[in-house]
């Protein structure tokens, strides 16, 4: 313990940097989602109420709403204003309209959405190339009247920024396409116009081009009829000796509505558009990945369900009997070793059972405790601390039986565990057997979560992998091996932090079968604290990465482990957890900003499927379903812990950080917590 404490400061520094980065990336993701929504959300549309203006009172063409009561600018009676309004993609109409304007030598006001300005700057160029002026309609083209004030201001400011970037100007003209005529300016539209007016915008209100008379603005939507309607209007204007003109001129504004901007404003606009494109890209990637990942997870759920049921109906029968050596590597296991040894010697195994405890340099008197027990058939090997693989190898070297069982120093066997575990060795192709590790300290929430995880892992994933002959790990808590096989692979390697995975892969790669005996139970102690759980999983996760890297050649060897086991682990233990935080942030964001029902339904469906699988797993393991109430809560804390561990181990592997084996803190009072 003291050595670990002394190493804490540097370890903390190493951890801090990736977490700061992760938080920044998730903040960036949130910003992307918000910006994407701001710049693309088209709104739902709304019902338009009665106009706030008197139908008989003069209205238009331009309202100054910066003051209250508002002030109308009177239109030049000898002119008619031309307002071309973006109602969607105006690119096709814009060229025809520009041709008509050029042919008649007429200038017009173009009211464009920010989205058009950003995506089709050619339209801005068309609008401005002949002395025309540009007004705006908002960024997305949605009805601004349905937006709260802060969103409305954002629509306007982002559109101005886009115009600054693409047209090098700002504008003071606003038209609400959904309230382009006075009769359609209802209370909500008026409020929106008032908010814009306080910022300095003038609201342009017009009439249909067919109804336009002197002093009014003819509003022509930029659709496929635009050039025809414009030409007709200009024809009639000429007949009535009306001068077609932009809105600012009609309304008698001093100067144009467009004001040139400086480099800073342009740069700001460009940055906004670039940020918007980045946000679109982020959302596109997420949307592209969503269905493949969903399908993948569904296939995995379905396959593991089918495989689990099949495996449960086709257990590996065997009848091997003979003397067995049980190896117990122990490092500072004084709190639990006595129970472990007693459970082993009480095994119902009449064909001879020896226990070899290897005290790997414990400092808590584990060795003395074992010696003081004085149980016949229990042997003690003491060595300076050299690590678990070395401890196991020392015992393997001392073992004289054909079959060796390995068990952790904190794990207890049932009386029939050994018999059930070694039975499959009657098949000479079987090289090793995995048992079923179960969590005994499951009363507290953390233990309960691990209990659920173990039951699901051992009854779904492990059965699926067993069916595919692709079991990647025989857990250190309970496994049986032919001594011949262990010697064949050169004993237990200390190349990785997950020596059990490394060993299992080595055995499988030599062509030996690895089976799973779900009724060979081992009661193991799960970490009590989140910190210990973190360190344990960190070691497993990092060690599994090491083992998979070490045995990467297996993917070319046409065995289950390379064809199924390793791709499965790469996908579900390494790659998908890396995207866990993204999924959580997206779900949380969507839940908080609307679309709540859909997200809630998706979450409920996911939880329902997960719960269904858990129920099947618990039934297969003959476990009570009671602890499953903690399953939905698993999504809130436990899952995050797991994917953060996966991320940290991947980062450590990539950066080449040196790790220490972090010994779990053993709680002395385990009997008090036993269920």
């Amino acid at each position: 313990m003291s050595s670990r404490a002394s190493h804490l400061p540097p370890r903390r520094r190493q951890i801090a940097t990736p977490w700061v980065l992760l938080v920044l990336l998730l903040a960036g993701l949130t910003a992307s989602l918000a910006l994407h929504q701001l710049l693309t959300d088209g709104g739902a549309g709304r019902r338009v109420g009665p106009s706030v203006f008197d139908a008989k009172a003069p209205t238009g063409p331009l309202a100054d709403l910066s003051r209250s009561p508002l002030r109308w600018a009177r239109g030049d009676a000898h002119g008619v204003g031309i307002a071309l309004v973006d109602v969607g993609d105006p690119t096709a109409a814009a060229e025809d309209v520009a041709d008509v304007l050029a042919a008649r030598d007429v200038d017009a006001s173009w009211f464009l959405s920010g989205r058009t300005i950003a995506a089709h700057p050619a339209v801005v160029a068309l609008a401005r190339e002949r002395g025309g002026e540009v007004g705006i309609t908002g960024y997305t083209g949605r009805d601004l009247a349905e937006l709260p004030d802060w969103r409305l201001r954002l629509e306007l400011s982002t559109t101005q920024a886009a115009l600054a970037a693409k047209g090098n100007v700002t504008t003071s003209l606003l038209m609400l396409p959904q309230a382009a005529s006075a009769s359609r300016v209802d209370a909500a539209a008026f409020r929106a116009a008032r908010t814009a007016g306080h910022q300095g915008y003038g609201l342009v209100v017009g009439v249909d081009p067919e109804d336009a008379v002197g002093g009014q603005v003819a509003v022509i939507p930029l659709d496929r009829h635009a050039s025809d309607r414009l030409a007709a209007l200009l024809d009639r204007a000429r007949g009535a000796t009306l001068q077609p003109m932009p809105v600012s001129q009609l309304a008698g504004m001093t100067g144009t509505a467009n004001s040139p901007v400086g480099g800073w404003a342009q740069a700001n606009g460009r940055a906004l558009l670039a940020a918007g494109r980045a946000a679109d890209l982020v959302v596109l990637v997420i949307e592209t990945l969503f269905w493949p990942v969903t399908v993948l997870l569904s296939i995995r759920a379905l396959l593991s369900l089918v495989a689990a049921l099949w495996h449960a109906r086709h257990p590996t029968r065997g009848h091997w009997v003979g003397p067995v050596t049980v190896i117990v590597p122990a490092y500072n296991e004084a709190a639990a070793i006595e129970d472990t040894i007693l459970s082993l010697v009480e095994s119902d195994w009449p064909w001879g059972l020896e226990v070899i405890v290897v005290d790997d340099g414990s400092t808590d008197g584990t060795g003395d405790l074992v010696r003081s027990l004085g149980i016949p058939g229990v042997w003690l090997i003491q060595q300076p601390n050299a690590g678990k693989p070395a401890a196991l190898n020392a015992a393997i070297a001392a073992a004289r039986t054909d079959v060796v069982v390995m068990v952790d120093g904190d794990t207890m066997f049932e009386p029939d565990t050994v018999a059930r575990l070694v039975a499959p060795f009657s098949d000479p192709r079987v090289g090793a057997c995995s048992g079923n590790a179960k969590v005994w300290n499951r009363r507290a929430l953390l233990g309960r979560w691990q209990h659920i995880e173990y039951v699901m892992g051992f009854n779904l994933d492990r059965r699926l992998l067993a069916v595919c002959r692709a079991i990647p790990t025989i857990p250190g808590a309970i496994g049986a091996f032919r001594l011949q096989v262990l010697r064949e692979v050169g004993g237990v390697s200390d190349d990785t932090l997950a020596e059990d995975t490394d060993l299992t892969m080595a055995i499988t790669r030599r062509g030996w079968r690895v089976t799973y005996q779900e009724d060979a139970l081992a009661w193991t102690e799960a970490p009590f604290t989140a910190g210990d759980l973190w360190r344990q999983r960190y070691r497993w996760s990092y060690g599994t990465l090491q083992a998979m890297w070490k045995h990467r050649g297996a993917v070319l060897e046409r065995r289950g482990i390379g064809l199924v086991g390793m791709p499965y682990a790469w996908l579900f233990q390494v790659t998908l957890p890396l995207f866990g935080p993204v999924a959580d942030v997206v779900a949380l964001y969507t839940l908080l900003t609307g679309g709540s029902v859909a997200v809630l339904a998706a979450w409920l469906l996911f939880t329902a499927v997960h719960t269904g699988l858990a129920v099947v797993a618990f039934r297969l393991d003959r476990e009570r379903l009671g602890p499953l109430w903690a399953l939905p809560l698993q999504q809130v804390f436990y899952r995050q812990l797991m994917y953060l561990v996966a991320i940290q181990s991947v980062l450590s592997a990539l950066t080449g950080t040196r790790l220490r084996w972090h010994k779990l803190r053993r709680l002395e009072a385990q009997s008090a917590l036993a269920t």
């Binding site: 940097t17 309202a63 209250s68 109308w72 382009a180 300095g200 009829h225 606009g269």
Partner: protein
Amino acid sequence: MFVDDTGKRRRIARLIGTSTGGLALAYVSFVGATFAGVPGLGRLDVPGLGQLTNPAGDQADVGEHPVEQAVPAAVADQPGASTTTTGPGGAAGPPSGPGSSTSMSTTSTTAPATTTVHGNSNATPNSTVPDKGGGPPTSHPGGGG
């Protein structure tokens, strides 16, 4: 395995991490400034309308807070009183053919009589709107015409 004692990979990772983190920080700050409407960053000045050379005068028939006062929910929900937003609104009817019969006259809206009724505070169809700064038409200093 994986351990790099030279520290080279770690330095590269730190470089990548720092630049990625810096980029993310800049992005978040910029988007945050945009959302907060920081002047000059995210929000540009609106040029304004300048001096309108021919104002028609103040219109007093619309309240300062029309949302709260102008349209009672009952009115807004009457099917006959409402229309659903589609496209560009009332100004976007089907195009009339060339040579539309609509007459275009320079005189129809320039009659002083029409522009001087601007201040009629009772003109709004929403009778629930109280006169705010309304009063007799003649009281408006900005009365044009």
